[in-house]
Each structure stands twice: as C-alpha cells, then as structure tokens.
C-alpha cells in the first residue's frame, strides 16, 4: 500500500506539473495581450505627439480590452490556486459535478488544442467520498489518453450516478473512440490512483463509455 501511495504521489506530481505548465502558458498569453495593449497605447501617444489626434473611443476600447485580459488572467490564477490547495486536501465528501467542472476547466486548453470539448452531463447531485485531487488525476489520465488518439472535433461528456453503495462516474466518448485501448492505458498508468480510490475501471465499447466505479463511502 505504501508503494502504491508513493507512486500515486508521483503521478500527482506529474499531474501538477502538466497543469501548472498549461495554466502558466495561459497566463502568459493574457499577459502578452496586456503587453500589446500597453504598447499600442504608447504607439498612439507617440502618433499624437506627431499631430495625429487621439480617438477617445479607441482608448476606451483599449482600456476595456486590458480589463478583460486582467480578468482572464485572474480567473486562471484563481484556478491555479484552487488546484494547488487541492493537492493536500484529505478524503472529503464532494459533489461529483464540482470535480467534473474543475477537471474540465483544468483540461480545457489542452482539449481545445486537440479539438476536444469537455462537457458535464445532467444536473443531478451525486456525492462521493474521496480525495478530490486523486479523482481529478484519474479523470485527467482518461482525458490525456483520449487526446492522444483524438482526430479532432469531438466531445467527451462527464457524468455520475448513484448505484447502491457505489458511485459510477462515466466518460462518454464519441462513437468510434477506442475506449478499450484508452481504458487499458489508464488502468496501467493509473493503477496506484485506482487502488488509492478503491475504484474499478470498466468499459462499454458499444456505448463508447468508460466507467469508474468508486465506493460512496471511503473506508480508510
């Protein structure tokens, strides 16, 4: 168990690395636009000094653009902060929808690069007792392996339902997605996470579905 915990932590570190790299890239993009807006302001001032009149409407647009990019960067930093804190979060009862929406937000940029859209199904409340970070990490492995085989323009839907003493998390892929191959890779790479969550991974190739079955109540 200790060995698996160690490997789960290593996988967690890789997860952290991937996500922080992606989010820092997003922040850089927002900063690049702020930088260009500031530069354009300087350009317009230099032109005004040479006699070209300043257009107040253009300045208003620039101020609004800067404000929008600051908000964009701020929301990325908030996400990064939440993610950083979640790494040390203990076993807790969490709404699966919250986990799905956060995982979708974390992976959104990388999904967009691969032409994949992540959606969250339904509005039912399904709670699970687990370390949210490990659930997010396992979901990420599923998404990562989907991205590797994706040819673009597809949607993956995350959802959950109660099943007696368990919670079944479903990843619904587009028709024709090699779910068995993805599931095999996730099971191999994510074994320590699966053990840490006391979970089971199964597939329904006909429905292009991967199921992660977790106990509703986590036994230490």
């Amino acid at each position: 168990m200790i060995r698996f915990q160690g490997t789960a932590n290593t996988l967690g570190l890789l997860f952290c690395g991937t996500m922080t790299a992606s989010m820092s890239h997003e922040i850089k993009n927002a900063l690049a636009i702020v930088n260009e807006n500031a530069g354009l302001l300087a350009d317009l001032i230099a032109l005004a000094e040479k006699g070209r009149p300043l257009n107040p409407e253009r300045l208003k647009t620039l101020a609004a653009d800067i404000s929008r990019q600051v908000q964009r960067a701020d929301s990325i930093v908030s996400r990064l902060n939440r993610f950083a804190h979640s790494a040390g979060q203990p076993v807790t009862t969490t709404d699966t929808r919250e986990i799905f929406e956060f995982t979708a937000a974390l992976a959104a940029r990388m999904a967009a690069m691969k032409g994949v859209t992540i959606t969250v199904a339904g509005d039912n409340t399904v709670q699970v007792q687990a370390r949210p970070f490990i659930v997010e990490n396992l979901l990420w492995l599923c998404l990562k392996h989907l991205f590797a085989v994706s040819t673009g323009n597809q949607t993956v839907q995350l959802g959950a339902e109660n099943a007696d003493s368990h919670v079944v998390i479903g990843l619904q892929f587009a028709e024709g997605t090699p779910v068995e191959e993805i599931s095999k890779l996730v099971t191999q790479e994510g074994q320590p996470l699966i053990i840490a969550l006391q979970a089971e991974v199964s597939t329904d190739a006909q429905r292009s579905l991967i199921r992660l079955t977790l106990p509703k109540k986590f036994e230490e």
Partner: protein, 159 residues
C-alpha cells in the same frame, strides 16, 4: 513598398492588437487564426515574413513550419511562443525558422526581425534547416529566451 506580413495565432485578441501595431509601423498585415487557412494564402501570395504561434489547435507551429517550408523553402517564418523550451527552440531552428521569440514580445525586436527576414528574402538567403546561425541572432533576443538560446548555442557547439 511596405513589408508584407502574415500573422497566424488562434487567439483573436492577440492577433488583432499585434496586427494593429505592425500596421502602425507601415507593414501590410494579413491575419488568420489557423495554420490551415494560412497554407492556401502562402501558396497564392508572396509574404516577406510569417509570424506563427507555436501552440495552436489542429496543426501546431512546428508542423505548420514544416509545411510552409515544403510549400516554399524560402519563406521566412518567425515563431512566437508563450513558453519556449530548448528542445522546441532547437527543433524550430533545425526546421528552418528564421527566429523564435517568446511572448510577451518586444515590438522593436519583432520589427527588427521582420525587416531582417525581408533582407534575407531579397538577398536569397533561405533559412532552410541547419543554416541558421543562432549566435548571430542571440544578442537581439529578449528576456529569458536569450538565455534559452545560449543553451541552444551550447548544444549546437557540442554536436
């Protein structure tokens, strides 16, 4: 005659603002949000420089660079990146990038690079794989990428 630039980035906000700044500098700028759109343009029109984002959906910057060079080996492509790595920088230069610059980019550096690519194009100096001299461009690179390029330079020296 103004310098003709093709600007490719999937971030529409970045595309619009950088285009406006280059136009203020008397450049003739065309913008597209994907490399796929750019391929058709490059086949039908001449450009003095192509400014290409390294990370884009569908086809990333390095794959796009390879395709541009296959269309016309003399095309001068400058890559822009949010976070450059030594490996990607080396790969880009080997594939024939005229330069790799890190975002946020200094407009003076970018303008200088664009003008330099035009001179190279006119004088017929292509930037096909391996011909680039990293050392010559390193002193004018900005910020952390300058340090990155020093690393690349060491790698080239070793090989």
């Amino acid at each position: 005659m103004s310098v003709k630039v093709l600007l490719i980035d999937d971030d529409q906000d970045f595309l619009a603002i950088l285009a406006e700044r280059l136009m203020i500098r008397d450049m003739d700028v065309t913008t597209v949000s994907s490399a796929v759109e750019a391929f058709a343009l490059v086949e039908s029109q001449p450009y003095d420089a192509i400014i290409l984002d390294l990370q884009m959906p569908e086809i990333d910057g390095l794959q796009a660079l390879e395709r541009f060079k296959a269309i016309n080996p003399n095309l001068q492509v400058i890559l822009l990146t949010g976070h450059a790595t030594v490996a990607k920088g080396v790969q880009a230069m080997k594939l024939g990038a005229a330069d790799v610059l890190e975002k946020p980019v200094d407009i003076r550096v970018l303008t200088e690079k664009i003008k330099k690519t035009r001179v190279q194009k006119i004088s017929g100096q292509g930037s096909e794989g391996g011909n680039n001299t990293v050392q010559s461009s390193a002193p004018v690179l900005n910020g952390s990428f300058s340090r990155l390029m020093q690393g690349i330079e060491k790698l080239f020296k070793k090989s």
